[in-house]
């Protein structure tokens, strides 16, 4: 504050002109001879040209308005001289305006662009003052007439006028920073017809932007915002920390840490996005502790704002450098592909042995209710499964963690606001939570992602992975249960059960198994694998990190869509089918044991029977309830499966991949 007041103080010192305006002229000019009058007028005009009142000229200010002032002459002057003098006054007025502007804009708080602009104006004014001094010399040599003065002033009048109008606009709107630059440029374009004025304005714009370009240069080449007066068009939000990426669903850090402001210099408007990302990339590298120094040569200096667009080349080069470097860093040092592959192993169930082992040892814990499950126990079981299978060879396996969610898959999908599914689901509003959801429905893996990989594997991406994982995991579970049921059936194969309920049940079991396996096959081989390959090829050829993020997101979105996770209607059907399968699998044991009697051979009944049927005999007993329930399961399952047909064929118009699914799971049904 002391600084500003001092500034004011030292400025007003030189500018208290008003106090002198009262000391008027002694004699009216009319008493002199016309030739003397001309000399006096010329002397006065020379003063007026540098903004000083003379004997017979005075400045009239309109109160309250700083920049509206007019020069006046003594009315007793010779009329011809008066007219001649009045022609020159606009120039004097422009000078005063510009001078005032220079003084006010040199203050510190006005910003770098204003400073530079003021400095350029000051240089111009200095030329102008020198010209006036030259005119004075001519005057002293008696070579200057009023006409001559007018003639000599000609070259300046146009530019000074144009400048004065620019300045009036700038100061009335109190422009700073970008606005000044834009004003100068647009004005230069508007004055295209007047070559002199145009070049002058262009020069002004050039000078004014030099300080601005320095800020731009630091941002482009170092990723630093060195902007003491807040003029740069990129804003930094320091409250966002890079650590937030690992839990912030919207990845605010990446999108909002640096943002474009509203006002962008017109000459940079097209490349503003590129400039923003360039600095962002450099910043990422710096945050990684990776020091990049862009070699700054003379040719890459952002100096020339001419029409040759050299600066555009520079920006392009800087962008290419930064994106290439960052991509290399993330690919090579942080091994993005390795991470993605590892995530695929676990979250997309590409590594079977680990999962089977885990399901075996964690079954008991997972069948508990979601709120009773101890996550620590699951975690240690997961670690055990990881270490005792092939996954142990993967260096990233320690990053895997597990979590248990609170809601079902459908519910979770509906809470994610950016999926289109949420609308359709919430519209239906029939999402009552099943009374008891077990860990099997809510279990999910998670993955610890470190900066800077969290740029690609953001919270959102991981959430999508988790959604796919939960779906796959549950399908796997159902399939395993059905396999168990099938085994039970195998156990009673020895008995001749042709035409009984058991054989019917066995058929049903097989068709369920076929359904589940086809579904799994579709999900893994028809959806995930091909899409993964497409993505991985694209990532190899990607040129910037934004492209990588985009391709990765695309992959996830495509997988989600093709895994039917975005089609609630279909997904609900699938859930329903899986539920029937599960119920059936759970009931199998009871069905079989109550319909097939395993009679222990009676010890005394004869030895030969022991040899014949391996110490047991199986005897089928007709049981009405069993037959009923098997039939019920069968009709229910078939009905659901049949109803899937129209839905699939309806939607396959819009979603062609569904025809594949239909072929897989309904293939037999279509033939019939």
């Amino acid at each position: 504050e002391a600084r500003v007041s001092a500034q004011r103080n030292s400025e007003t010192k030189g500018f208290s002109v008003e106090s002198f305006s009262s000391t008027g002229a002694e004699k009216a000019i009319g008493c002199y001879h016309a030739s003397v009058q001309e000399l006096i007028v010329i002397d006065d005009l020379l003063s007026a040209l540098v903004g000083i009142e003379g004997r017979y000229t005075s400045i009239r200010r309109i109160h309250g308005k700083e920049d509206e002032l007019t020069f006046q002459v003594d009315p007793s002057m010779d009329l011809a001289l008066q007219e001649l003098a009045k022609r020159i006054f606009p120039l004097c007025e422009s000078y005063l305006l510009i001078d005032q502007f220079v003084e006010s804009r040199s203050q510190f708080k006005k910003g770098l662009v204003n400073h530079a602009f003021a400095a350029a104006l000051r240089a111009l004014l200095l030329d102008y003052q020198a010209m006036v001094a030259q005119l004075e010399h001519q005057f002293r040599l008696c070579r200057l007439s009023l006409q001559g003065l007018w003639f000599y002033c000609q070259p300046m009048i146009g530019s000074m006028n144009a400048l004065a109008s620019v300045i009036q606009k700038a100061s009335s709107n109190n422009y700073a920073g970008v606005d000044v630059l834009n004003l100068l440029q647009s004005q230069a374009k508007a004055m295209a017809g007047d070559h002199v004025v145009r070049t002058m304005l262009e020069k002004m714009a050039h000078c004014a932007s030099s300080a601005y370009l320095e800020i731009l240069e630091r941002w482009l080449y170092e990723g630093v915002i060195d902007d003491p007066y807040g003029e740069f068009f990129i804003a930094e939000n320091r409250t966002l920390q890079k650590e937030s990426l690992t839990h912030d669903y919207d990845a605010k850090y990446w999108h909002q840490r640096y943002s474009l402001k509203d006002s962008i210099p017109s000459f940079l408007a097209d490349v503003a996005g590129t400039i923003l990302t360039t600095g962002k990339y450099l910043n990422v590298m710096r945050e990684c502790g990776h020091n990049v120094q862009v070699r700054v040569s003379e040719s890459s200096k952002l100096r020339n704002l001419g029409s040759n667009h050299q600066y555009l080349e520079c920006i392009k080069a800087a962008y290419d450098f930064a994106s290439g470097e960052l991509l290399n860093l993330i690919r090579e040092k942080y091994d993005l592909m390795g991470k993605l592959r590892s995530i695929k192993h676990y979250l997309l169930l590409d590594q079977g042995d680990f999962l089977v082992h885990f399901m075996d040892i964690a079954r008991e814990e997972l069948t508990k209710k979601a709120e009773d499950i101890s996550v620590e126990k699951l975690q240690s079981l997961l670690d055990l499964a990881l270490r005792s299978t092939a996954a142990a060879a993967d260096p990233c396996h320690e990053d895997l963690t597990c979590c248990v969610e609170r809601s079902t898959l459908l519910k979770r999908l509906s809470t994610l606001k950016d999926f289109e599914i949420s609308k359709t689901i919430s519209a239906n509003n029939d999402l009552e939570e099943p009374a008891s959801i077990t860990g099997l429905e809510t279990f999910s893996l998670s993955y610890k992602v470190q900066w800077p990989l969290s740029l690609v594997l953001s919270r959102k991406a991981l959430t999508k992975y988790q959604l796919i994982f939960r779906f796959l995991f549950h399908c796997k579970h159902v399939s395993r249960q059905l396999c168990g049921a099938w085994q039970v059936h195998q156990g009673v194969r020895a008995a001749n059960l042709k035409g009984t309920a058991v054989s019917r049940s066995s058929l049903l079991c097989r068709s369920m198994l076929k359904f589940m396996n086809s579904l799994l096959h579709y999900l893994t081989f028809e959806v995930i694998e091909p899409n993964w390959h497409v993505m991985s090829n694209r990532l190899q050829s990607a040129k910037s990190i934004d492209e990588v993020i985009q391709y990765h997101d695309l992959f996830l979105q495509k997988c989600l869509r093709e895994c039917m996770l975005l089609l609630p209607e279909l997904l609900k059907k699938m859930e329903r089918l899986k539920l029937i399968c599960l119920q059936y699998a759970a009931a199998t044991q009871w069905l079989i044991s109550s319909s097939v009697e395993i009679t222990e051979p009676v010890l005394g009944s004869g030895r030969e029977s022991v040899f014949r049927s391996s110490s047991k005999t199986l005897k089928f007993t007709e049981n009405a309830t069993v037959t009923d329930s098997i039939l019920k399961f069968e009709t229910e399952f078939n009905a659901e499966l049949q109803s899937l047909g129209p839905i699939l064929s309806n939607q396959s118009q819009a979603e062609p991949y569904l025809t594949h699914l239909a072929q897989w799971i309904l293939g037999v049904g279509n033939e019939q």
Partner: protein, 670 residues
């Protein structure tokens, strides 16, 4: 032309005024605070305004000049400082430039100004208008200087440099260059200080202008308290993180010099300077070369920190000492601890005030010699001492005994008093745990010889025999329960806590780049032990419960000892009796057999029944207390924040015995 004075005179007067000198017409006026042309002189209005405008320069000059002379006059006496001095010198230089211009102008002013009427003799004259052209640039500079003088008047040192730096943020190239030149001069003393601090560890700061402040402290707290940053003096062009690195580098040098008595850092410093492209001589750094400064600091920091760690690791064997502390103070060396416990045990059971430290020291030495610890470095073993803590009346030796490790300079920077007290707390806890374990094992020793078989008590009544068996069983079960608890706790502490923390610590020790990292790693190590071993503030109640449990176990041990003693006695008596009987039977096949025996048997039975009843009661009492305490302990465990404590719970309650009984109780209560 009707002027009182000619323009030449006025021009000359303006030139004088611009050097702060009163001319014949233009004088300094206190009331308006500026140079004015006296009103009595009649000149045209334009001239008057012109003169007034030009004289602003004089007013500014006066201000700047006044500041410079004030500073120069007061220099050594008053608080100006080297930065202020440099500032004055730089201003003075600018003024010299200005004088040069004035001298040229003065010469020009001597030429007469041609009047309109007469023919011009020479074009090289100076009019007021020409003067205003000449003065345009000096005016800008002078204004800037005046502003700086105004804002820097009250500031000193780094703060002044920072304030000037703030003014350098100007878009006008002229101003920018001017400020840069000025700052280069102003900052040179500061940069010199940084250089000598970073490369030599010298604090050459007579006027307290540097952003690092030193204070005399003892060698052991030199690292923590010896030097600190003075935020007020930190110029804004040096970032806080850089300042922190600068501070640490110099501190490292001082630490090496004072505490480690090392000279090797000088080579490291020279190397660093060479790598950064400067020499260790004066000069070489300047304002605006933040990159160079950063490079120098990072090079120096890298080398000196490495050297410091080398010295600490290799010459002062930090790792070995840490390991020794882990082995002796944290009871990592099992055979040594076992032996020590064996031989000092009897001694420590005495009241605290009767124990002689010398004797204990001797025993410690014996323990060292007879365990594998004897192959350890003598230097390390010499540092191991017995420490008796202050005792109250009634304290036993167990309560006051502890081991101590003497970390000499410079390692006492890491192992400060407070750190050692924390180690002591951990030691006490571990020692107690060991003692309890030891007690349980020795109880097992008495219980183990399973010769107390029922056949030796054949003579006892059936009921008493049953009672005896029940009591023995109760004792056995209780022992098992306690042993399960203690050995699992022991396992948890030794493996899950100590070893895991140690392994983390040694990894971090490898990765540490400077002493601060090392200190932080050690702090983390200690903290994790304290937290996980239930010694933290949050687990105070758990810790207290644990100690009550320990006391209960010790009490159990004495009860068990008494029980078995009693049983042995009974056994001895009954065998005596039976032998007596046999002898009698052999010696004199008297007429009334069994009268003595039956009487003896009856007394024995009575005695046994009584003894067993009291013992049974006592065991029952202990058992009840123990199970309720343990239940409390287990129920508190899950509330603890630390995740590892959950694993302790798993371990203790692996078969879900306790949680089942707990939930049973809850159900019953319902």
């Amino acid at each position: 032309e009707e002027n009182d004075v000619s323009e030449e005179v006025l021009v000359r007067d303006v030139l004088y005024a611009c050097q702060g000198i009163d001319g014949s017409y233009i004088k300094y006026d206190e009331s308006v605070d500026g140079y004015v042309l006296s009103d009595v002189i009649k000149v045209p209005r334009a001239t008057r305004i012109m003169v007034h405008k030009l004289c602003e320069l004089g007013w500014l000059f006066r201000k700047v000049k006044g500041y410079i002379s004030e500073c120069m006059d007061h220099f050594p006496a008053e608080d100006v400082g080297t930065v202020g001095q440099a500032f004055c010198a730089a201003l003075q230089d600018e003024l010299t430039e200005y004088y040069k211009l004035l001298a040229v102008l003065e010469a020009q002013a001597m030429n007469p100004i041609p009047l309109v009427s007469e023919a011009a003799s020479s074009g090289n004259y100076l009019s007021l208008r020409r003067l205003s052209v000449w003065f345009a640039e000096p005016m800008v500079k002078m204004r800037l200087m005046a502003v700086l003088v105004d804002s820097c008047k009250v500031l000193r040192g780094g703060a002044m440099a920072g304030a000037i730096h703030m003014h350098a943020q100007h878009g006008d190239p002229l101003v920018h260059d001017f400020m840069k030149r000025l700052l280069r001069r102003v900052c040179s003393p500061l940069f010199e200080m940084v250089r000598s601090w970073v490369l030599e560890g010298e604090l050459e700061d007579i006027f307290a202008e540097f952003f690092i402040v030193g204070q005399p402290v003892k060698a052991e707290s030199l690292w923590r308290e010896g030097y600190r940053l003075h935020a007020g003096m930190l110029p804004s062009f040096i970032s806080p993180s850089l300042a922190q690195r600068i501070l640490r580098t110099g501190k490292s040098i001082n630490f090496l010099r004072v505490c480690c008595d090392d000279r090797g850092w000088a080579d490291a410093a020279t190397e660093a300077a060479a790598a950064a492209g400067t020499t260790t001589d004066r000069g070489g750094l300047g304002y605006g070369e933040t990159d160079a400064l950063e490079l120098l600091v990072s090079e120096a920091a890298k080398r000196i920190d490495k050297h410091l760690l080398d010295v600490i690791y290799n010459r002062y064997k930090f790792k070995e000492h840490c390991l020794a502390i882990k082995r002796y103070l944290l009871l990592g060396q099992g055979d040594f601890v076992q032996y020590l416990m064996d031989i000092v045990g009897p001694e420590l059971s005495e009241p605290a005030n009767t124990i002689s430290t010398f004797k204990l020291a001797g025993l410690l030495e014996t323990a060292i010699r007879s365990s594998n610890a004897q192959y350890d470095d003598r230097d390390i073993l010499d540092r191991l001492r017995i420490k008796m803590m202050p005792h109250n009346t009634g304290d036993r030796g167990w309560d006051v005994f502890s081991l101590e490790y003497d970390a000499r300079i410079p390692l006492d920077t890491v192992f400060t008093e407070s750190v050692m007290t924390r180690y002591l707390r951990i030691f006490n806890f571990l020692w107690k745990l060991r003692r309890v374990e030891h007690a349980l094992i020795s109880a097992w020793k008495t219980m183990k010889p399973n010769c107390i078989s029922s056949h030796s008590f054949l003579k006892l009544q059936q009921a008493v025999k049953m009672q005896l068996l029940l009591t023995l069983r109760r004792c056995q079960v209780l022992w098992d329960e306690m042993n399960h608890f203690v050995s699992n706790l022991q396992y948890y502490i030794m493996f899950e806590v100590l070893e895991v923390s140690w392994s983390n610590f040694s990894n971090e020790m490898e990765a540490a780049k400077d002493l601060d990292d090392l200190l932080a790693a050690h702090e983390k190590y200690l903290h994790s032990i304290v937290e996980k071993a239930l010694l933290g503030e949050r687990s105070r109640s758990l810790y207290e419960t644990l100690f009550v449990l320990f006391d209960l176990i010790l009490r159990f041990r004495s009860v068990a000892d008494r029980l078995y003693e009693g049983i042995y006695e009974m056994q001895a008596r009954s065998t005596d009796a039976s032998r007596d009987k046999k002898r009698r039977q052999i010696n004199s096949k008297s007429a009334e057999p069994g009268s003595w025996v039956s009487e003896g048997r009856k007394a024995l039975t009575q005695h046994a029944a009584k003894f067993l009843t009291t013992m049974d009661q006592e065991l029952d009492d202990i058992g009840k207390k123990y199970s309720s305490l343990l239940k409390g302990f287990l129920s508190q465990l899950p509330i603890q924040q630390h995740i590892d404590l959950k694993f302790l719970l798993f371990r203790l309650d692996f078969t879900e015995f306790y949680s089942l009984s707990l939930s049973c109780n809850v159900n019953l209560a319902k």
